[in-house]
């Protein structure tokens, strides 16, 4: 692993405890490395804050219009380099430079994207595994993402809904617990509450939803407490969940 990869891994929190402490030790002794780390950190922060701005349609048509009129003027005026044309040449050069810089940022970002995309691909492939423990392992991969990635959440939700093994659905429910602040995740968990049949998965869902005080869960929880075909211990957990949400 070269120095840059190490820095990226460190900033993304992908190092093991040992690698991390070793890296931090080398930071104190190597000022150059430390400076480089700071540069990368700035870059990462910038990437995080950067929003892709698209040129609006009017801007584009204005630009086209300007270009056209400029071309007509150029034709009429002969090919002498006036101050004005110099100025537009400078503007073009500036645009090129800016484009280049942005492009560099993008390649940096794409390195990071590539890594997480590889993880996502890995996760999705293992999700199709025949073996239950293999699929549970795929669910565990989701723990490596610092932030909830859309595709990761979708895969987890899909698994919670459709996996044939209750053991895998349980693992998915527990993995989603980390992301329970997301609206999409809450909706999926609440929905699963009314369709799930496995008692253990139900208890996990009730725990997560009640700890997060998800009010949307109140109705399905109340249904569980009065349903006829539900085991007593699940009704108890549902009661407990209602108490936690409503702070009675």
């Amino acid at each position: 692993m070269n120095k840059e990869e190490k820095i990226i891994d460190y900033l993304q929190g992908e190092m093991t405890y040992e690698e991390r402490s070793k890296f931090e030790r080398s930071l104190t002794s190597d000022p150059v490395l430390k400076a480089e780390l700071e540069e990368y950190r700035l870059l990462f922060d910038e990437i995080d804050q950067m929003e892709i701005s698209r040129p609006s349609l009017t801007l584009k048509s204005n630009f086209d219009y300007m270009l056209e009129s400029e071309m007509i003027r150029q034709d009429s005026k002969s090919n002498v380099m006036t101050l004005k044309t110099w100025r537009s040449a400078a503007a073009v050069a500036a645009i090129l430079v800016i484009g280049f810089l942005v492009g560099q940022n993008w390649t940096q970002k794409s390195v990071i994207n590539q890594q997480s995309q590889a993880l996502v691909a890995d996760m999705k492939r293992n999700m199709k595994s025949e073996s239950v423990t293999g699929r549970i392992e795929a669910v565990q991969v989701s723990q490596q993402f610092a932030k909830p990635e859309n595709e990761v959440l979708n895969t987890l939700i899909e698994t919670l809904k459709n996996d044939s093994s209750p053991n895998v659905r349980l693992a998915a429910a527990e993995a989603l617990d980390r992301y329970a602040a997301e609206e999409k995740v809450r909706t999926a968990l609440v929905r699963q509450l009314s369709t799930e049949k496995d008692p253990f998965v139900l208890i996990a869902l009730i725990n997560t939803l009640s700890e997060q005080k998800v009010e949307k869960a109140i109705d399905p929880l109340q249904e569980l407490t009065t349903a006829e075909d539900v085991a007593k211990f699940i009704k108890d957990e549902a009661h407990l969940g209602l108490i936690k949400i409503e702070k009675i």
Binding site: R20, T133, E137, I203
Partner: protein, 256 residues
């Protein structure tokens, strides 16, 4: 005296008939649904052997003479010991038909070839224990009330039970796929070799975690998360995912 004992022995053997049922099978999984008090061991052989001491209720069998018990799925007892045994693709699927014909203290004893994994599920009160010994292929267990005992296992496995306790002794920790042991209201006790490599995740919201391993606790930005309810970390510099969770009881992770 000897004669007397033999006579008594013979009488018992007549009253409680021990019966076997064999099926040749290799690879895949042995899927068991609702099989009471099962004791599953792997052995060097190419047949799955089911045995049970059958207790016959004389009155019942008088009325049921010439009839077969069936279940709601339309499966029937094709083994003669109260089990429906069918091939299901690569797997062998076994469903208990109705109440256990077996002696409660004995349950069903099942021997399976080393090439086979186990997928066991049980949802009623009728089975208070499951024992799996020496199985090194994938083990999947899902029960509500059954206590689960695992002996000389290696993983990969996923065990979950609502009310049961889980006790597991590993002969080694296989590194190719995950191990997870989950109980809601029971304790989980796992003994693994001291040199095992694993990435641990131990959780018990209302219980206590006990261990004699040195766990390297994971850190984010140099900060270590220390909690007595939830521990993530590695032993022997990390390895396969090894997850233990109990909702309300203690977790014990010990060196074997």
């Amino acid at each position: 005296m000897k004669y007397l004992l033999t006579t008594i022995g013979m009488c018992i053997a007549l009253a409680i008939g021990a019966q076997d049922y064999n099926v040749a099978h290799n690879g895949g999984k042995l899927i068991l649904e609702g099989v009471d008090n099962a004791k599953i061991t792997s052995y060097d052989g190419s047949e799955v052997v089911f045995s049970a001491k059958i207790e016959r209720d004389e009155k019942k069998s008088e009325r049921a003479k010439g009839l077969k018990p069936i279940n709601s799925l339309g499966l029937d007892d094709n083994s003669g010991i109260g089990l429906s045994v069918k091939k299901d693709g690569d797997n062998l699927k076994v469903t208990q038909i109705g109440e256990c014909m077996c002696d409660d203290d004995e349950g069903y004893t099942i021997k399976l070839p080393k090439s086979m994994g186990v997928d066991y599920s049980h949802s009623t009160y009728d089975s208070d224990r499951l024992m799996i010994e020496g199985v090194t292929k994938e083990i999947v267990v899902s029960t509500n009330y059954t206590n689960v005992k695992l002996k000389d296992v290696t993983g990969p496995m996923s065990v979950k039970t609502v009310y049961g306790d889980i006790e597991a002794t590993f002969s080694s920790v296989e590194q190719n796929s995950s191990v997870s042991l989950n109980s809601v209201y029971g304790f989980v006790d796992a003994a693994i070799p001291a040199a095992s490599k694993a990435k641990l995740s131990l959780k018990t919201p209302y219980g206590q975690i006990y261990t004699d391993f040195d766990i390297d606790v994971a850190s984010t930005n140099g900060m270590r998360e220390l909690s007595d309810k939830k521990i993530s970390g590695t032993i022997n510099s990390g390895g396969v995912d090894f997850m233990i969770k109990s909702g309300y009881e203690n977790i014990y992770l010990r060196k074997k």
